[in-house]
Symmetry: C2
Subunit: 160 residues, 2 copies
DNA sequence: AGTTTGTTTAGAATCATTCTAGTCTTTTTG
DNA sequence: CAAAAAGACTAGAATGATTCTAAACAAACT
């Protein structure tokens, strides 16, 4: 993603929030910008460290509050804690995608696929039909072994 | 599910565990049986309370340990904490299905659909192709408003 | 300018989960 | 069978991510 399109994305999301009468504070803008420009699925601590230079007096409570606000407005999603650490992870969800999570090292890998849009629609429809829920969004996580861990574990098996 | 098929299911899972040289202790059997016979997506506390009469000296640490064992052996799945409470939920995963989660009240609803098996296969294949992960399983959660909350919130909106 | 409403901060409090040390149980070995 | 080793359980302490609280700050409204 280029600098320019990140800026455009930021502007678009801010417009969306403003249209809902949500105030854009410096804290919110910096956190949002961090999430748009970092696709490493950070936890709260990582976000906090990553913007410490821009907001020296920031409170972690504000990070938590802001993330909750963004989640409620379907701007970011929350990902489960990947065994190794006990903290939740966050992800700007501009382009819909799903996640592969390594059961060995906890790595989270994006999966972008054209087919995902159709799958999503089908899932939403199935849910409406069977449960009468009003669907707003959905999360898909695929679990397994990442290539690195697969190799590592195979080698261990071979040597042990 | 009838009494008989629950017993059969229990026996089958126990056989699976034994075949992997995992010991079947009284605690494990009671917890497993609870999960097979209760499809209310309980958290640790609910499980603990639900079997207190059968295992008066049970430690919560054992519940945590046992649930982790079952997850690692793909017998149960873990579901995210549903906002209202901060605890994870567990679900015996005999018949594959996905979950609709109400963003208002936190209710978790099962969604069984014949199409899910095909979707699952497609997702696993997409993941393998694009990430080279070795896929073991996947979770799908659909978020939205349950029928009860939808009605409640519409009424409120109308009255407010 | 004063009032109301919403936001942030810093630190305390909560509480789900993990860890630890000691005990008990099962399996293995001789 | 007895002894030793490995595995599992318990009770309670420790951890640490998240939430809560009270006071200061900022913006919107009258
Ligand atoms: Mn992602
Ligand atoms: Mn279920
Ligand atoms: Zn890995
Ligand atoms: Zn609901």
């Amino acid at each position: 993603m280029t600098e320019e399109s990140a800026a455009q994305t930021l502007a678009a999301v801010i417009a969306k929030l403003k249209s809902r009468n949500i105030r854009i504070t410096p804290q919110r803008e910096v956190i949002l910008n961090y999430l748009i420009t970092h696709h490493n699925h950070p936890d709260v601590e990582t976000i906090y460290q990553g913007i410490a230079d821009q907001l020296p007096n920031l409170s972690v409570a504000t990070v938590y509050n802001t993330l909750k606000l963004f989640i409620d407005n379907d701007i970011i999603i929350e990902l489960p804690s990947t065994d190794k650490d006990g903290s939740l992870h966050y992800d700007f969800f501009g382009v819909p995608h799903f996640h592969a999570i390594c059961e060995n090292c906890g790595k989270i890998t994006d999966v972008f696929a054209d087919e995902y849009s159709a799958i999503n629609k089908q899932v939403a429809q199935l849910t409406r039909q069977q449960t009468n829920y009003q669907v707003t969004n959905s999360h898909l996580e695929v679990y397994g072994l990442c290539p690195e861990c697969r190799q590592k574990l195979n080698l261990q098996k071979g040597t042990g």
